[in-house]
Every structure is written in structure tokens, then in C-alpha cells.
């Protein structure tokens, strides 16, 4: 009897490895079959275009001259490094990102702190304050272009009436005033994003923490500095990174308002790439520029995360 049981167990154990992988396969196959369509879609929609762009960057191709393509290897990428217009556009992009994201964050933080308070009509104020987020970049650009118009704009009219200036300002003819114009427009558009994210983080803070801080004699500023800021830091870091990446790639508002002018002063990297591709018709070089842009943003994101991690280490 014991021998029969042992034999049976040994026979069972011998069968177990063979049946194990079949069972494992059946167990794994179904979920993979369920997600396969999505994996295929994402792979096709993301990986294929990426690979195509990298390949296109290795070709000399201008569709305006016909369908012929010529393999040039890394020549387009090498050309990027020696292209003065690329470096100028990169500097313009940095100015654009820093000048846009900082005021957006500060405005958004202020809006979130106000909206976090309880007051009458808060719901309506929230809707109004967050409305610009729903407006597209092109429409935003046209609105602010009209407001800043050098001849018939409302901003100039107000400034002249308030005697801040003697004559209407031609905002778009100097790089300084042009940047100011687009920063204001972009701050109006982007601040609600920070307001939404930070407001959500604020509302997740346990009120008991503020009570405890008050009981310990903390001032309003100390409560903000030692309770509020640490608790919303994660949200700030993530939203700032996202906003910086999006702003770097934005072309709609800037193109609408300045077309990269005056005299190329606000030609950011995406605008430069757009010009290279659709105005000059150099699809291959434009693709190489796009790949370099992508690498720059990946490096920036990695550096940002690392810096964030290091500054938060005890």
C-alpha cells in the first residue's frame, strides 16, 4: 500500500513537470491574448513611427523634388551639430520654456491656494478661472494677438489712457516685448493646468496637520513652508515636468502670434523643424532634427528626475 502510494506519487511527480508548462502556458496565454490587440496597436502607433523617423533622418529626401531618396547615414545628424540655426532655436526654446512655465506655476499655485479656501461662489470662480485651459492654442494666440495689436489693440489703448506709455507699443518688433507678449498669453492658457493639479494635491492634505502646526505656534508662512509645500511637492514636480515637455513641443500659440519673428528671435526648435520640413521641403534633415529634439527631451526628463530624487534624499 505504501509502495503503491509512493509509486503513484513518483509517477505523479514525473507527470507534473510535463503538465506544468502546459498549464502555465494555458494560464498565461489567455491574458496575453486579451492584451495582444492593444500591444499591437501601441506598437504600431508608437514604435513604428519612431523607427521610421530615425530611418528617415538617415536619408536625403525632399518630396517636392520627386520620390527618390538617398541613404546618407549619419550625415544629417552631423549637420545638426554644425547648424547655427539649430543652436539658436534651442536657445529660443529654453527661453520659451522657462519664461512660460515659471509664471504658469506661480499663477497656478496662487489660483489653487485661493480656490482651496471656502467662500461664496467658489464653484463659479473655479469654472471661470479654469476656463482658459479649454481654449486651443491657436485661438489663444489670436485672442492675445488682437489684444496686443500695435495699432488697434486693447492693451495699448489701456496703457495710453493710463498714461503708462505715450504712444502705442509695437509689441512684435523687438524680441523683448515679443517674448513678454507670448509669455503673458501662455501663462493665461497654462496656469489652470497647475491650478487643477495643485488644488487636487491641496485637498488631499489632512487638516489635522495644519491644526497641529497651529497648536505648535506656526505662522501662516511657516504652515505653508513646512506643511503645504512638502505635501504638494510630488504634484508640483510631475506637473512641472509635464508642462515643460509640452511647452517645449508647442508650436500652435507661438506660430500664431509671431511666426517665429521678429527676424527669427522666437523661432523655437519645433518651429525651425516645421520650417525645414514644410517650407524647405527637407524631410530627411527635418527628421534628424526631430530625433535630436526627442533625445534632448529624454535627457532633460532623466536629469530632472535624478535632481528631484537627489534633493529629496535625507
Amino acid at each position: 500500500m505504501a509502495e503503491t502510494s509512493a509509486t503513484a506519487r513518483a509517477a505523479g511527480a514525473a507527470r507534473a513537470p510535463r503538465e506544468g508548462w502546459r498549464r502555465a502556458l494555458r494560464r498565461e496565454a489567455t491574458p496575453w491574448a486579451m492584451v495582444a490587440p492593444v500591444v499591437l496597436l501601441v506598437g504600431t502607433g508608437v514604435l513604428f513611427p519612431l523607427a521610421y523617423i530615425v530611418l528617415l533622418g538617415s536619408e536625403s529626401y525632399s518630396p517636392y523634388l520627386g520620390p527618390q531618396r538617398e541613404w546618407v547615414g549619419l550625415a544629417n545628424y552631423a549637420r545638426v551639430l554644425g547648424d547655427a540655426a539649430f543652436w539658436n532655436a534651442l536657445v529660443a526654446s529654453v527661453i520659451w520654456v522657462v519664461g512660460s512655465v515659471v509664471p504658469q506655476f506661480l499663477l497656478g499655485l496662487g489660483m489653487a491656494l485661493v480656490l482651496n479656501e471656502t467662500f461664496r461662489g467658489r464653484g463659479l470662480v473655479r469654472t471661470i478661472v479654469l476656463a482658459p485651459w479649454a481654449v486651443s492654442g491657436v485661438v489663444t494666440g489670436f485672442i492675445w494677438l488682437w489684444l496686443f495689436d500695435g495699432t488697434i489693440g486693447v492693451v495699448n489703448d489701456l496703457l495710453v489712457r493710463m498714461q503708462v506709455v505715450d504712444a502705442p507699443v509695437a509689441w512684435g518688433i523687438e524680441s523683448g516685448t515679443t517674448w513678454l507678449m507670448v509669455f503673458v498669453a501662455n501663462a493665461w492658457r497654462g496656469a489652470p493646468f497647475f491650478a487643477i493639479v495643485i488644488l487636487a494635491a491641496l485637498q488631499a492634505i489632512d487638516p489635522a496637520l495644519y491644526e497641529a502646526a497651529s497648536m505648535d505656534g506656526a505662522t501662516r508662512w511657516q504652515r505653508f513652508r513646512h506643511v503645504t509645500l512638502p505635501m504638494i511637492l510630488n504634484a508640483v514636480v510631475i506637473s512641472t515636468l509635464l508642462r515643460a515637455l509640452w511647452t517645449f513641443n508647442f508650436i500652435d500659440l507661438l506660430w500664431t502670434m509671431t511666426r517665429g519673428g521678429p527676424a527669427g528671435a522666437t523661432t523655437t526648435l519645433p518651429i525651425y523643424i516645421f520650417d525645414v520640413i514644410y517650407q524647405k521641403g527637407e524631410f530627411g534633415y527635418g527628421a534628424a532634427l526631430s530625433v535630436v529634439l526627442c533625445l534632448i527631451l529624454i535627457a532633460f526628463s532623466a536629469a530632472y528626475w535624478q535632481l528631484n530624487r537627489l534633493t529629496r534624499m535625507p
Binding site: 517636392y64 523634388l65 488697434i152 509689441w171 515679443t178 521678429p262 527676424a263
Partner: protein, 431 residues
């Protein structure tokens, strides 16, 4: 229990597989023969209602061909059409500017219409200047014109009367004098719009250059050796005079240095400008803005080397990959019937490209006198190198940046002329 779960799982998988197979097995056979459907792309800011009306009337008249109009925003026409052509999604036929013709024909995307033009005999109906434009790419017609237009002067008669000016200026010195008299900065009024942004600023400053230095061979931009003439001392002198209108005389709104064609239009329609320069569409747009009775037209000013005019034209082109070329050509022929061409241009365009329409009464209105005179002045017509590959980019992207630098004092007139000449010589060498 496990067996039940397995059975349910198999049922689900069978169901998914069946659903995935449906589009393959459930596809219907090809639709029965119905009317031919063609798509017509309209890429201009104005005129869409007129085109839609023509499409509707054509579809009603010719039940066997149905036309669907697709409006393409003009500001995005090059990226949109480029993407459409490369992706095989471009319309069957479309409106086409002479500024883009070489760019799209060079890509092999536009049908060579020589055969259709010859067999239909339409050439004798079309203004010769328009057929010249149509054949700019390799001497073959890649579009058939529906309008021609000169780059003329448009002025506000009311502001002229207020300033005591009886007539528009005839030469560049009178131009400056008129502009100064019309300028009153305290009232936000300016004599002339020195355009530096996007939209045909090139034609303004080169008018001054050409009427000081003269054109090249056969009124082109190139001399007998094939070199661009624009950097000559007299050409640069002409450019300096034009720049001075903005920099020293300040007869233009300060914002004009980077503003676009639409800004110029808005300022003129707001009665802030005495004179502007523009294309034939202004005959309608500006008349609507300041009133027909207040709009005057004139020839561009003469200079020491003479008087020269730009002319252009829009046309209709057929997608080389279209499967409905014959149907598209029929629609184009319909739109170019004299009565249809005249009506469309009267409402939205400029001067009809169909010569039979030139006898229409509406063309006898005073505002058409100067444009018609310019189009008839063949020896004075300038031939800018629209046929060179890359010209669209040169005029739309390269030139605004350069002229803005010149207007804003970041480069001299000579440096600007040199940059332009270098670019044009390079384009010609590559062609």
C-alpha cells in the same frame, strides 16, 4: 469548476475571434455603379461659398458627377497638401496658387494638363499671361488659370481728400510726399503700410528695387549670365528709400515691420492707412471694408529705371494620382465657362482669366481700370522666379526674416540684398 472556467474562457475567445473576422467575411461586394464622386480642395481664405455654389450647380446639372468641396485653411495649405499628397489622400482637383505650383508639380503630384488643354482648345479662351504662369514648371501646363491679378496700389479716397491730395502718386518721390501728408500719428493714421511679415512683402520692397535698378533679361530677376541683379548699387538705393519710409519718415505703423497681410488689411479697413499694396482679392475685400466709393486703385510708383508690375494668378489643378481625372477636368471646364468665371471673380476674385469675361459691365467700374491697365502692359510685367524649386519657401519664410532684420536695423540694405541674391543664385544653380 475549473472545467467550467476553461469552457467559459474558450467561449469568450471564440467570440472574440468571430468578432475580429467579421470585417473580412462580412464585407459587402463593391457598390453598384453610381455617380462619380470627386473631391475639390479649396485652399484660399475667401471664395469658399462661391466654389460651393459652383459645385452644387455642377452636381445638379451633371447628375453623373458629384462634387464634394473640402476647404483647406490657407495658412496651412503647404503642410496640409504635402501630407495629403504623400499619404495619397489629396483631393481629386483643387485650387492652386502660382506661388505653390512648382513646389507641388515638382513632387510629381499635379497632373500634366497639356493634353487636356490642347484637346479642349481652352487655351485660346485664357489670358496669355495666365497660360504663361500655368507653364512655369518645365514648360508644361500644370494648372489652368481662373484669375489673374496684378500687385497694385489701393488707396483710401476719403483720406486722400482730407489730406488735399487729388490723385495717387506716380513715382517714388511723390509716393513719399503723399505718405508724409497722410500720416498723423496722433490720430493713429499712416500714409503707407511697410509690410515686413508674412504675405507678399517681397513684392513691395522689390518694386522699389526694380524701379531704381531695372530688371534682368526679359524682365526676369537674372542677367544674361544667369546671376540675380538685385544687389546692384541702384537696386540697393531703391531698397534704402523703401526702408527709409519706415525707419526715418515713419509713415507706417511701427508694428508693420513684423505684421502680416491680414494686419495690413485690418488697418486699411479701419481707415488708418492711406495706401497699401496688394493683390486682386483686395478689390473685393477693401471695398467691403471702406466702401466701394472710397476705394481707389493705382499703378505702383515709377522710379529712375522705369515702372514695373508684378502679376500672378490662381488656377485649378488635378491630382496626378486621382482616379477621376476626366470628371475633375469636366468640373474645371464648368467653372471656367465665361459666365461662371466672371460671376465668381466679381464676387470673390479679381480679374477673370477667361478673356470673354473681360467685356462684362462690372469690369468697367473705376476700381478695375488700373489693374486692367497693368495686365495689358506686357513690357512692364515682372517675372519673379516662381518656377525655381524652393521659391515658395524663399518668399514665405526666408524673405520675411531678412526684411525684418533690415527694417529693424539689424542689417543694412546692402546686406539684405546680398543675402537675397545669394539665396536666389543658389536656387537657380540647383534647378
Amino acid at each position: 469548476m475549473a472545467a467550467l472556467v476553461r469552457a467559459q474562457r474558450r467561449a469568450v475567445l471564440r467570440g472574440l475571434a468571430a468578432a475580429a473576422a467579421l470585417p473580412v467575411v462580412g464585407s459587402r461586394p463593391a457598390a453598384a455603379q453610381g455617380p462619380a464622386r470627386i473631391t475639390f480642395g479649396w485652399p484660399f481664405a475667401s471664395g469658399a461659398p462661391g466654389i460651393e455654389e459652383l459645385a452644387k450647380r455642377f452636381s445638379e446639372e451633371r447628375k453623373s458627377i458629384q462634387v464634394e468641396v473640402q476647404v483647406i485653411p490657407q495658412a496651412q495649405v503647404i503642410p496640409r497638401l504635402t501630407t495629403a499628397f504623400t499619404g495619397g489622400q489629396a483631393p481629386d482637383c483643387m485650387g492652386m496658387s502660382d506661388a505653390w505650383l512648382t513646389q507641388f508639380a515638382g513632387g510629381g503630384w499635379l497632373e500634366n494638363l497639356e493634353g487636356m488643354v490642347r484637346s479642349s482648345g481652352i487655351e485660346k479662351e485664357i489670358v496669355p499671361a495666365s497660360m504663361g504662369i500655368a507653364r512655369m514648371h518645365k514648360g508644361q501646363a500644370h494648372y489652368i488659370g481662373y484669375l489673374v491679378e496684378p500687385y497694385a496700389v489701393y488707396y483710401n479716397r476719403k483720406l486722400f481728400a482730407e489730406a488735399g491730395l487729388p490723385a495717387p502718386p506716380r513715382d517714388v518721390d511723390e509716393w513719399r510726399a503723399h505718405a508724409l501728408k497722410l500720416t498723423d500719428r496722433a490720430r493713429n493714421r499712416f500714409g503707407y503700410y511697410v509690410l515686413g511679415g508674412s504675405g507678399w512683402q517681397f513684392q513691395q520692397w522689390t518694386t522699389w528695387m526694380m524701379n531704381h535698378g531695372g530688371p534682368g533679361v526679359a524682365n526676369t530677376f537674372f542677367d544674361a549670365q544667369g546671376k540675380c541683379v538685385l544687389a546692384g548699387p541702384r537696386h540697393v538705393q531703391g531698397l534704402e528709400k523703401w526702408l527709409a519710409l519706415y525707419q526715418q519718415d515713419k509713415v507706417s505703423p511701427p508694428a508693420s515691420a513684423t505684421a502680416g497681410f491680414q494686419d495690413q488689411t485690418n488697418a486699411f479697413n479701419a481707415n488708418q492707412l492711406g495706401m497699401v499694396m496688394g493683390w486682386g482679392g483686395y478689390l473685393t475685400v477693401l471695398a467691403q471694408g471702406i466702401g466701394e466709393e472710397n476705394l481707389g486703385t493705382a499703378l505702383p510708383p515709377a522710379g529712375p529705371a522705369g515702372q514695373f508690375f508684378y502679376f500672378a494668378g490662381n488656377g485649378f489643378a488635378i491630382n496626378a494620382a486621382s482616379k477621376q481625372k476626366e470628371a475633375s477636368w469636366e468640373f474645371i471646364r464648368f467653372m471656367l465657362r465665361p459666365e461662371n468665371n466672371a460671376r465668381f471673380n466679381q464676387q470673390y476674385g479679381a480679374i477673370p482669366a477667361v478673356q470673354a469675361a473681360w467685356t462684362a459691365d462690372w469690369l468697367k467700374a473705376p476700381k478695375y481700370a488700373a489693374p486692367l491697365e497693368m495686365l495689358r502692359s506686357t513690357p512692364k510685367l515682372l517675372y519673379n522666379p516662381r518656377n525655381l524649386p524652393g521659391y515658395a519657401s524663399f518668399q514665405n519664410q526666408f524673405c520675411p526674416e531678412q526684411i525684418q532684420k533690415a527694417l529693424l536695423g539689424k542689417q543694412s540694405a546692402q546686406e539684405h540684398a546680398t543675402a537675397v541674391v545669394t539665396a536666389l543664385n543658389e536656387m537657380r544653380a540647383k534647378a
